[in-house]
């Protein structure tokens, strides 16, 4: 009987949280509940990163996905629904079952590919966790300097674009 280590147990629990809340995100009718479960799912992913001893990434995951993106979505949600209506049930598309076989098919394909090609030798033998922050910083500012700068420009452009898009036209003329 294969013994289950603590890590494996934790992985199982976290995976369960992630997948369960992800399924709820995809199927729940109340979009606000979806958002809460989305946040839970993100938290689970941060847990996965911790299991992979990617502590820096886990913190960034929480900071960016929960602290920024989820909050942003909640904000957008509140702005795009009539206030004082907690009943914001969202119906799914007309043929909401149609994507199901597609999703399952893609899962099957991916799973098959991973299981066949995810090598047996690729087992985490490096139990020793490496402090990741310094390595990531080094990589970002040396080898990945250009993508790093491009990402910063992308963020700036996205910020300006979002402001322009969401800005209300106060003047009468369309320009």
């Amino acid at each position: 009987m294969p013994t289950i280590t603590l890590q494996q147990f934790m992985f199982g629990a976290i995976a369960l949280v992630i997948l369960g809340s992800a399924i709820l995100v995809a199927t729940l009718r109340n979009i606000f509940h979806c958002l809460l479960f989305l946040a839970l799912s993100f938290l689970g992913v941060a847990g996965v990163y911790l299991l992979l001893s990617a502590d820096f990434l886990a913190a960034v995951q929480v900071l960016v996905y929960i602290g920024a993106i989820t909050v942003l979505m909640m904000f957008a949600l509140m702005m795009t629904h009539r206030v004082m209506t907690t009943d914001i049930s969202q119906s799914l598309t007309q043929w909401w079952l149609a994507p199901l076989p597609i999703a399952l098919g893609i899962f099957a394909v991916l799973f098959r590919v991973y299981v066949r090609h995810g090598g047996q030798a690729l087992v985490d033998t490096k139990h020793h966790a490496v402090p990741t922050t310094g390595i990531i910083g080094q990589a970002l500012l040396t080898r990945y300097m250009l993508p790093f700068e491009l990402a910063s420009i992308l963020l700036l452009v996205a910020m300006v674009g979002a402001i322009i898009l969401a800005k209300e036209d106060k003047s009468d003329d369309p320009a």
Partner: protein, 353 residues
């Protein structure tokens, strides 16, 4: 050999024949429980202290009936809250309404895991190598709880409050995080213990080598952002009793309200403790000659001074408007914080340690 929590638990586990790899989680769990009780204690007397200080500032006595000098007053209040009826608004979104206070409280409590109360590993629950980043990440979570609370209450005051809260907390999270970066740069570490260690020593035999020396601007930015993050009075527009009828927690009562309250005061202690760690040398004595006083007292002393400053500000300044708050955050604090980072970069570049 020092007696540490880990050592005790390992000893107990060995006696009970529990596998050794369960030790670390258990240590975390026990440490968490200890921290939780510490928080409860701290919050109880912070509330008491606040009421007393406000009383003095406003030329009155403050609580003085329950217990000697009114010391048991907060405990009585807490008991009263626990005994109260837990009201659920009629059209409320039930589960979000219930978990919202928990989402707010848990992160406030999780931050304590990395705060070094004293020298060495036994005075910090978990000295993470990414400590500062962890703090910022965790501090961003309560916003979700506050929005959820406002949303789920099905009350327009609550919703408006949570709108304001979302805007304010997201806005001030940025200068807060930016103000925390210069100490990291100066120390070359994100671990809070590392940052404290980097502040050891004195200049000219008198002045402590605290980061405050080069980071007066950063400290000021941090303290202002911290005021907003823990929504204290000049920036408490998300609760704003006189405008929004207490904002997001209008509909809350009983234990759930107590959790919000707890989180708020825990947050006050947290930001002060972080400020003391990052800028004021944490548990380091003000001068090596004073190191006979245990480090934990230094730490608590500095933290309490900062808390007093926060309370002082809270009870003297009027509330600002929403638009003033936002424009101050985005147009003043963030540019200044960025400038401070550039300045610190110059310092690190030209005066390497």
């Amino acid at each position: 050999m020092q007696i540490t929590l880990t050592g005790i638990i390992r000893l107990v586990f060995e006696r009970l024949h529990i596998p050794a790899n369960w030790v670390a989680p258990t240590v975390m769990l026990v440490a968490s429980v200890i921290v939780l009780f510490f928080i409860l204690f701290v919050v109880l007397y912070l509330i008491y202290g606040l009421r007393k200080i406000m009383g003095w500032i406003q030329a009155r006595i403050g609580p003085n009936r329950v217990g000697p000098y009114g010391l048991a007053q907060t405990i009585a209040d807490a008991l009263k809250l626990l005994a109260k009826e837990d009201i659920m608004p009629a059209m409320a979104d039930k589960w979000p309404f219930i978990i919202a206070p928990i989402i707010v409280f848990v992160p406030a409590y999780m931050v304590y895991l990395v705060i070094p109360f004293g020298k060495g590993g036994s005075w910090v629950a978990q000295d993470l190598s990414i400590g500062v980043l962890y703090i910022s990440a965790i501090l961003s979570i309560p916003i979700i709880g506050i929005i959820t609370a406002g949303w789920a209450s099905n009350n327009k005051w609550s919703l408006l409050g949570s709108f304001r809260a979302a805007a304010q907390l997201v806005s001030y999270e940025v200068p807060l995080a930016l103000a925390m970066i210069p100490p990291v740069m100066l120390a070359g570490s994100m671990s809070l213990q590392g940052i404290v260690h980097a502040q050891q020593g004195v200049w000219f035999g008198i002045f402590p080598k605290w980061f405050l020396a080069t980071q007066i601007l950063g400290f000021a930015i941090y303290m202002m952002a911290a005021l907003a993050e823990s929504n204290l009075i000049p920036f408490d527009i998300m609760e704003a009793e006189s405008e929004l009828v207490a904002g997001f927690n209008t509909e809350y009562s009983g234990m759930k309200f107590a959790l919000f309250f707890l989180a708020e005061f825990a947050g006050m202690f947290t930001v002060s403790a972080i400020a003391a760690t990052l800028f004021l040398g944490g548990w380091l004595p003000i001068h090596p000659a004073l190191s006979f006083i245990p480090p934990v007292f230094w730490f608590l002393g500095k933290t309490l001074v900062l808390i007093f400053v926060l309370m002082w500000i809270r009870s003297t300044l009027p509330r600002v408007r929403v638009d003033q708050l936002m424009s101050f955050g985005w147009k003043v604090l963030i540019p200044l914080a960025l400038l401070n980072i550039v300045w610190t970069g110059a310092v690190v570049l030209f005066f390497p340690r």
